[in-house]
């Protein structure tokens, strides 16, 4: 009964050491903040659990907004990083729970949001490409980013 442990324990130990480097299923908020603003020295919570101001050496580096949308049925945790001028600097997916539709995590798809402002149309199949098989997830994330821009793009300084 215990024989199998002899074979799997070394593998499990190696996997547990190696996995933080590869496991991209989950980014914590602080990890996502560092990824969005690598040069920022500290993050001040402007709205509890939602909006942080990133500062580096006294200057505002940008804003980090955490949000959630529904994919097909489960929630997607994502974050929008804004430049001080209110344009999108990056969009990161922190947690994608569902089994289908994970293609929205592709860097080339997320790169489409860079530079968008509250005036951008941000429509699927218009300025944002759809992903076949992930239509609902891509539509909802696009609408989420648009909502974040309209809510915060012009109001955070």
């Amino acid at each position: 009964m215990t024989k199998w442990i002899r074979y799997t324990l070394p593998a499990a130990a190696i996997a547990s050491i190696a996995s933080p480097a590869y496991s991209m299923q989950y980014l914590s908020i602080s990890e996502a903040q560092k990824q969005a603003f690598p040069s920022a020295t500290h993050f001040t919570e402007v709205q509890a659990g939602r909006v942080w101001k990133a500062e580096s050496g006294g200057r505002v580096a940008g804003f980090f907004i955490f949000d959630r949308v529904v994919g097909k049925h489960l929630l997607i945790d994502y974050a929008v990083a804004l430049t001080p001028g209110g344009a999108v600097q990056s969009v990161e997916i922190l947690q994608y729970r569902e089994s289908y539709g994970g293609e929205i995590r592709s860097p080339s798809w997320l790169a489409q949001f860079v530079g968008k402002t509250s005036g951008s149309s941000l429509k699927i199949n218009s300025d944002i490409r759809n992903i076949a098989g992930a239509t609902l997830s891509s539509t909802h994330v696009t609408e989420g980013v648009k909502r974040v821009l309209l809510a915060y793009g012009n109001r955070l300084r």
Partner: protein
Amino acid sequence: MLLAASALSSLAGGAAWAAEDGANDLLLKKMEKMEQRIQTLEAELRQKQAAKPDESVKPPRSATQKDAKNANAAAPSDTPDIRSNSAAKTLSSSTPPANLPILGLAPSPVSGLSIGAYGEIKFGAMQNPAANGQWQNGFDAARFVLLPTYAITDNIIFNAEIEFEHAGSGFDADDKLHGTAEIEQIWIDFKMLDQFNWRAPGIDLVPIGYINQHHEPTQFYSVNRPELYNGLIPSTWKAGASSVYGTIADGLSYQVQVSSSLEDFGGDFGLRTEANTVPPFPTGYAPGISGLDALGFAAPVRGGFSQLNNTLAYAGKLDFAPAFIPGFAGSVSGYYSPNVTPRGAYADTGDLLGHNSVGIFDAEFRYRVPTTGLELRGEYVRVNFGSPENLRANNDTDPTNNVGKSMFGYSGEIAYHVPLGTILNSEWEAVPFYRYTYENLQTGGFAGTDANLPTGAGQRKFHTAGLAVFPSPKVVLKATYQRVIDKSVVGALSDSFLGGVGFFF
């Protein structure tokens, strides 16, 4: 991962850890109680938020697609300097509350559980080939499917699909039901790494082609599913299966599956014996694979340990959406079963039928030309048989349904997305389309004990054209005309003009 490793090591050195186990147990119990309390509080909070969407207090409970209309109103607006509360209030009467996991209508009674649904309604006029091609009007509540999804933990996700076909099934004579109630899918995913995830054994769709795994009515434009998926690839092909899947690189993902095999037995379920064999000679039985229905009746059994052979089949799929061709997505997939012949299989002459393997290859693409409404799709699928002389269809004294060494089909489709503007508070879109499909289920080289007199009914061309209107990405109204041409003397006599309603939420 670290927890798993330490759990294993504690198992191995059980005795030495016994004392510490007591204290750990207490801690774990306390944490479980705290976890439950948090979940109860979350559920209560969500219920409160669902009832009063304007006065949301807590952060990230963000909305579904309905919030697109709220785009001018802020999301959780609890800071005084965001003055859009009034805007949110005026829109709220027309916008339903967001984030309701039960059919989009109600908050979830269990935190993390959601139930979605999809379905198809079909109606219209069809030629009935069994009635000499007479045009008959009809209606079919083709399917209604419930999709329970539950995040057991952030990394262990439960998914199921409960399907009712043709308005369900029942026994009372006045109900007139002859459909199906079934578990179409049921599995638990263990999400581990980007590159590697495990789907525990359950009922899962076989990863061949695109439509088999993405078969909701909003994924295709014709009333009926694309023709290649109604036989060459069995309709909603599912099996007892387990798989691993993951993303290899940006735009490239894979799935490898082991499943219970297709079976060459197409008869009524009750005809298989208690010994899990085909009905004994000389009763005879219907084939699962034939030159008229392809693999349509060869689906593996998913219940009761009633499979007719011990075979495990293997399938693999590569999905790609290369970043350097934006708008392009495609896949290649393959399936192999070492043996589809059921126990006790025989020819009508009494000779026993031996092993027969089946291999399937599929390649397909979908291309949405960027910044235009143009969409193109193409597909090729091929089925090869190792020993077609052991197929029941080649040995059942029916000379018209014989099968050669292979079957194949291909299709090409062109569609155009036309935005219709805002109607009834949502953005509508019309998609006219045309699809050409060719199938040859009776390629030459028949083998077996039958006389070989196929009528040509297994070589078919389909011209399918119509219009799909999307009042939202979750609802579709369809009208489709289909012309079927085969090589038989009487003709296919299967034209149809159908309307359809589909939904997926």
